[in-house]
């Protein structure tokens, strides 16, 4: 796992987006199409803003999946990840627009979760994913795989229980007004499925993530720190800012300080 530490959240978003755009263009050039998995959450705002305004990406040939969605939440709810994906990625880029072919796969949290997991999962595994974008939760979760995470499941999507730390984080970020409003279940891409992407770009800004970053980077690889699984992936780049990297030892292997171009 490569780690890049940028000055602040903005610089992080820009650098990660530049990296993502480059990989995306390369995949489009080589295969004529690209499949990506998008992450949601407050931590992805700057990154997605930069990425969706990057030049020279033919989004009409990009096929999009997303990591997770709450069970039982309508797409019009402010916290809905489908709403997030639609408004912050799909409508901005025009994915699946011109071709008349829907090139995005949203997890319908209002349907039968097991069935949705199965169906979107079968679409997902039908071809390899080129790039996966992920974040890391305050409790170290990857997608909605809260600790202890299921490292063994081969299913593409799982129906998972959300723990209280994770649910509280959603309230703190302003998506819900109180803990009781946060759904207790979600559909989440499995850890193994996330690791099947050819390349992973993790975008993790802010001080509130520092402890989780430390656990995932420096402690042992364990279901108790779900994002530590990223270290088993051959082509992952973890983008941090000074705040989220604050607890890392300077001597950690593979840490490269300083901003990447621009």
């Amino acid at each position: 796992m490569q780690i890049k530490i940028l000055d602040d959240k903005k610089a992080l978003g820009r650098a990660a987006a530049e990296h993502a755009a480059k990989s995306l263009r390369a995949a489009l050039r080589e295969n004529g199409a690209a499949r990506i998995v998008a992450a949601t959450g407050a931590s992805q705002f700057e990154f997605l803003d930069s990425l969706t305004s990057a030049a020279d990406i033919d989004w009409s040939r990009v096929e999009l999946f997303h990591l997770d969605e709450y069970v039982g939440l309508p797409a019009t709810h402010p916290a809905s990840f489908r709403k997030y994906i639609l408004e912050r990625i799909i409508l901005k880029t025009g994915i699946g627009h011109k071709t008349g072919i829907t090139q995005y796969h949203l997890l319908d949290g209002e349907g039968d979760p097991q069935e949705i997991a199965k169906r979107v999962g079968s679409e997902l595994i039908s071809r390899p994913v080129d790039i996966g974008f992920v974040g890391i939760g305050e409790n170290g979760h990857l997608a909605f795989n809260d600790p202890p995470a299921d490292f063994a499941s081969e299913e593409a999507y799982l129906v998972v229980q959300l723990d209280e730390t994770c649910r509280q984080q959603q309230v703190n970020e302003g998506w819900f007004s109180q803990l009781a409003d946060v759904p207790r279940r979600a559909i989440s891409m499995s850890i193994r499925q996330i690791l099947r992407a050819k390349e992973i770009i993790a975008v993790v800004p802010e001080a509130r993530k520092a402890r989780a970053v430390q656990a995932c980077v420096e402690e042992e690889i364990s279901p108790l720190a779900p994002a530590s699984a990223l270290r088993n992936h051959a082509n992952t780049t973890l983008y941090l800012d000074r705040d989220s990297a604050a607890l890392l030892k300077a001597s950690s292997p593979s840490v490269s300080q300083g901003s990447v171009s621009r």
Binding site: A42, F45, D49, S53, E63, P74, A75, T76, S80, R82, K83, L86, E87, R88, I90, L91, K92, G96, H97, T99, G100, I101, T102, Q103, Y104, H105, L106, L107, D108, D112, E115, I116, R119, V120, S122, E123, E173, G174, W175
Partner: protein
């Protein structure tokens, strides 16, 4: 708190003012197109008493005019459905309304049987695009729990159109003659076209949709399923049990409707009831059908909201309809006008609930690129079913006239059972299959 999104904000400000609940305005426009469609096609029927005299047409001549419309209409649905899937709803319905409005206007130039027959054929071909097109529009704009209601809404345009046509056509005829009576209704189409061109865009690119409505629609209508919008070949569509489920649901209900509307008065007469005392009774099936349409749409939407799966919510209404239409059968045991009318009313109500589901099945089951095609198939199926039914009814009612008892008994029994068979077939054919997993068909 999520940071305000600059790009989105500025985009919002530069947009024209959003219209809340835009989808229901579009639903209203589809209703209006059905009304105009029916006014245009009713013109000939309303003027028939005068035209048959002016042109010395026999009843056979007149029947042949009707048939030239029917044939074009039945076959046209399959062709137009495909066409609309190809060019899109906006262009497809624009062209078809333009087409049949021009034909309606041009009918004023007709000079005799041949030219009337030709214009009727062209009218049928153009008008046949309405149901596949409106069904596709509903699939593009309405979430699944509102789809049946939206279908019922545009469908009810046919009865409303039929009801108001006399009030538009006949005054024009009495004042200015028959030619303007074809021209003026044709002009309505241009009025509609003007509004349609302004209002109909896909939700995704609509300049006047609210963000909340667009998100709600896009999250529902296009997710999940990567194949949405993929164009499937006719042959491949016809191999799917779901396609046949959609076809039989319409082919085995529509004929019953035409039987009820066209033969009910004759049935009363055959029972020895004078039409004078039964005049109000003749209205009952029409009112019951409209109520049944909306009942079917509302009830299945309600069930979906209650957490029923889409398939269960649709099939519940199909079962309701399949059993309900059998209420026609007990009418053979009574001569009482009130009892007969009540049973016909109930049966028609149940039929209409079933038929609403038949209309909405193509948009439930198929993805963007095939909705209108499958709706077209089912329209053609219904057309063929109706023609067969008419031949059979004519044959049986003549054949049994000489026998003791009532000439209609057998027909009534068959009419009461045909939707029941349709129900069984729908239950059998409409299900999730491998094609569902492959994304050719949507899960139900």
């Amino acid at each position: 708190m999520p940071a305000p999104d600059q790009a989105l904000q500025s985009k919002l400000q530069s947009r024209p003012r959003a219209i809340p609940h835009l989808r229901w305005w579009i639903g209203g426009l589809l209703f209006a197109s059905t009304v105009i469609n029916y006014i245009d096609r009713q013109t000939l029927a309303l003027l028939a008493p005068f035209l048959t005299q002016d042109y010395h047409w026999s009843h056979t001549d007149y029947a042949n005019l009707l048939i030239s419309f029917r044939i074009a209409y039945a076959l046209g649905q399959t062709a137009c459905g495909r066409f609309i899937d190809r060019v899109g709803t906006r262009r497809g319905l624009s062209i078809s309304v333009l087409w049949y409005s021009l034909v309606s206007i041009a009918t004023s130039l007709a000079a005799g049987f041949r030219s009337f027959a030709a214009f009727r054929f062209l009218l049928g071909a153009g008008e046949s695009a309405n149901w596949p097109g409106a069904t596709k529009a509903v699939s593009e704009w309405f979430p699944r729990h509102e789809r049946a209601l939206a279908s019922a809404l545009f469908d009810s345009g046919s009865s409303i159109g039929g009801a108001i046509a006399p009030f538009i056509i006949l005054p024009i005829y009495f004042r200015w003659g028959w030619r303007p009576a074809f021209v003026i209704p044709g002009l309505l189409g241009f009025l509609w076209l003007f509004v349609w061109r302004r209002i109909y865009y896909l939700p995704r690119e609509h300049p006047r949709i609210t963000d909340a409505e667009r998100t709600m629609i896009l999250a529902e209508t296009e997710s999940p399923g990567g194949a949405a919008g993929r164009r499937v070949r006719w042959g491949a569509l016809l191999k799917l049990p779901q396609t046949w489920g959609a076809i039989v649901s319409k082919a085995l209900t529509d004929p019953v409707w035409f039987f009820i509307t066209d033969w009910f008065p004759l049935y009363l007469v055959a029972k020895g009831i004078s039409l004078k005392s039964g005049l109000i009774a003749v209205w009952v099936p029409f009112i019951a059908a409209d109520l049944g349409n909306f009942f079917g749409g509302t009830a299945s939407g309600f069930l979906i909201k209650r957490g029923w799966s889409l398939g269960a919510a649709r099939k519940a209404l199909v079962v309701f309809g399949g059993f309900g239409v059998t209420l026609l059968i007990p009418t053979i045991f009574t001569m009482n006008l009130v009892a007969i009318t009540a049973l016909f009313g109930l049966a028609t109500f149940c039929y209409a609930a079933f038929s609403t589901i038949a209309n909405v099945l193509p948009s439930d089951l198929f993805t963007g690129g095939s909705v209108a095609s499958v709706s077209g198939f089912s329209g053609t199926g219904a057309g063929i079913g109706t023609i067969i039914a008419f031949e059979l009814i004519g044959y049986f009612s003549d054949a049994t006239q000489a026998l003791p008892g009532h000439s209609f008994d057998k027909i009534i029994v068959v009419a009461g059972l045909v939707p029941f068979v349709g129900m069984l077939l729908v239950l059998l054919l409409v299900r999730n299959t491998r094609a569902t997993k492959e994304g050719l068909v949507r899960p139900i």
